[in-house]
């Protein structure tokens, strides 16, 4: 029982990281339809950014994080300008920007590999390394920090999409791009903003997971795959889906690793098998899109 509760904290923290990555995918997919696998590399850049800003330059943690996220806003915006907008304007099929962004993934990864070499770097903890016990719930400081930050981010995202006019513009573009343009919503600006927001959210995921996994140039792709899997499980229809998908995936992974009576090599395959099964039974994800309420 103690183990189970302890595992719940650890799995929730991991699930929150996956959920943030799924949210990064989601804010870009909804208005543009584009799946951007470079989110994992953005998370990596965020983690390296924290190393530079907080460990190297020795800015206070909140200032350093704010600086990194501001930079990532620009990176996301620039990525859209370089690799997406020209293709959308030329009327290329949807696969073209997805592939161009895969190319950008290689560019991000190799630039970091050139700048930092293959060695891992430590990413600073906001609260230090230690163990917190809240009644029966126990876990590292970082786990609780991840969970708190993620819940706050999701609350903000939910408020934005459900309660603000700008958020409704996003949703309108998501539902019908042409109609949105007719009522005067600037599609290109919405697309650019969605990429900027995606980069900020992905970098936040990298900042949060970085103290655990250290910043290194190969950390992006596994995060991109896990985040995408979480998105598929939760469905792209609603913001809460990303959170639910991330948590489900992380619990499946960690409960299998802890309790499944399997040789350790095969235990990694269980979440993959679950995913395939899930795709067959419910290909639209857990949470379906709400009707034309917006």
């Amino acid at each position: 029982m103690r183990d189970l509760l302890e595992l719940a904290v650890s799995a929730s923290a991991t699930g929150c990281v996956y959920a943030l990555l799924a949210l990064a995918y989601l804010v870009m997919i909804r208005p543009t339809g584009i799946i951007n696998f470079a989110v994992g590399e953005w998370a990596m850049v965020g983690a390296f950014g924290a190393f530079l800003a907080v460990t190297k330059v020795e800015l206070p943690y909140p200032v350093g994080v704010a600086a990194v996220l501001a930079c990532m806003f620009v990176v996301g915006w620039a990525t859209e300008r370089i690799a997406v907008r020209p293709l959308v304007r030329a009327g290329a099929p949807l696969l073209a920007p997805i592939l161009a962004l895969l190319g950008m993934l290689v560019v991000f990864r190799e630039s970091v590999a050139l700048a930092f070499g293959p060695d891992p770097y430590p990413v600073p903890y906001p609260l230090g390394f230690g163990r917190l016990e809240l009644g029966p719930l126990a876990g590292s400081y970082q786990s609780f920090f991840i969970i708190g930050t993620t819940l706050a981010t999701f609350a903000l995202a939910w408020l934005f999409f459900e309660r603000t006019l700008a958020g409704k513009c996003f949703a309108a573009v998501a539902i019908d791009r042409r109609a949105a343009a007719l009522v005067g919503i600037d599609r290109t600006r919405v697309a650019a903003l969605s990429f900027a927001a995606g980069a900020v959210i992905a970098a936040l995921a990298g900042l949060l997971v970085g103290p655990n996994v250290s910043a290194h140039y190969l950390m992006g792709v596994p995060l991109a795959i896990q985040g995408f899997t979480a998105l598929v499980i939760g469905g792209v229809g609603r913001v809460e889906g990303a959170l639910l998908g991330g948590l489900l995936l992380a619990f499946a992974e960690q409960l299998t690793a802890r309790y499944a009576p399997l040789p350790p090599g095969y235990a990694q395959g269980v979440p993959l098998a679950l995913l395939m099964l899930f795709l067959l039974v419910r290909p639209t994800g857990l949470l379906a899109e709400r009707g034309a309420r917006a």
């Binding site: 595992l7 190799e110 996994v213 290194h216 690793a257 802890r258």
Partner: protein
Amino acid sequence: MKRCKLLIGALALGATGIVAGGAMAQDPIRIGVITDKVGPARPYAEPITEGVVYGAEELNRRGGVLGRKIELLIEDDQGRPDISAAMARKLVDAGAAFILSLSLTQATQQQQTVTMETRTPQLTPSNSGDTLTTQIANPFFWQTGPLGSTQIATLLSYARAKNLKRVALISDNSDLGQLLAKFFRAGLEKSGIQVAIEEVVPRGATTAEPQLQKIRAANPDAMFMAGVLTPENVLILKAYRQFGLKFPIHSSYNLSVPQYSTVAKGLLDGITFVDAYDPAKPEVKAFVEAYEKAKGKTPYNLHGYGYDGIRLVADAIGRAGSTDKEAVRAAMQATNFAGVMGAQGMKYRFPDGKRTGFDPEGMVVRVYEGDRQGRVVHVGTR
């Protein structure tokens, strides 16, 4: 028109280069190096290659081998074994007298197809997979990296006083990590110790807490780490410290790289690890000092593997008296050479037709004192 002139100029320059090259009195001895510049082996292939390059420069400063300079032909296999084999062919075609393999274990394996066929001497100074000399009987291949089986035997002889009965084994899912875990398990079972639990932290995991929980529940006498991925090993150490676990940790040689003292700061005290490097050895002190002077940075054990590798090759060619492949093969097999790697007084040898040259008694056990890699506390397997 302008471009045309440029082209002609470039061709002319190239031609004079060729003429100048041909006019040199003595052709250099060409040594092929296959390394990984972009793939999964890069984190260790890079420092090892730097060690090779430095070793060749030092040899050339002292007049080369057989009065000829050493010329390194360095090829990148991108961490892909099939390209590795193609690069071995390229080096053979280019007249390499010897090939040094610094990339993945499987890449070294696949190069052997070529070196066996063309009867070209090949050495890996760093790969530690036991299967390299057992899968194919290739008389032109040698391995001087410390074997996985030697690592576990050394750790076990150190831990013998602790009277271990049931232990945990943890590794990652990288190819080398899996290979080492296999040899660790075999070594443990051979000496009558039960592997109560074996766990794997997959590449890209964000926590090792489920695995460490399972190990905690099994309550082992000690935990053996066979993984080679630094970030995943750090996850293991974080979960271990966070849970406040007390059983001792004995690790493979991966914990001997200096990166841990920055990424695992505060987590390392008291952990024992096996190493092929003793900083107190006079040869090591001389190497470190000379390297720092020449390159302006401090080398560590991985540089030592490369440095020893090129000097082993030069030694064999020197004793063979020529670059004739059969003569070099015989000379290499008769090697008796003290390098920077290994315990005090260790020599690389290939006795009884063996082709693994790292003395099974030549590894050491060291203990972390705080975040610093401490002194040697045990030598060999006895």
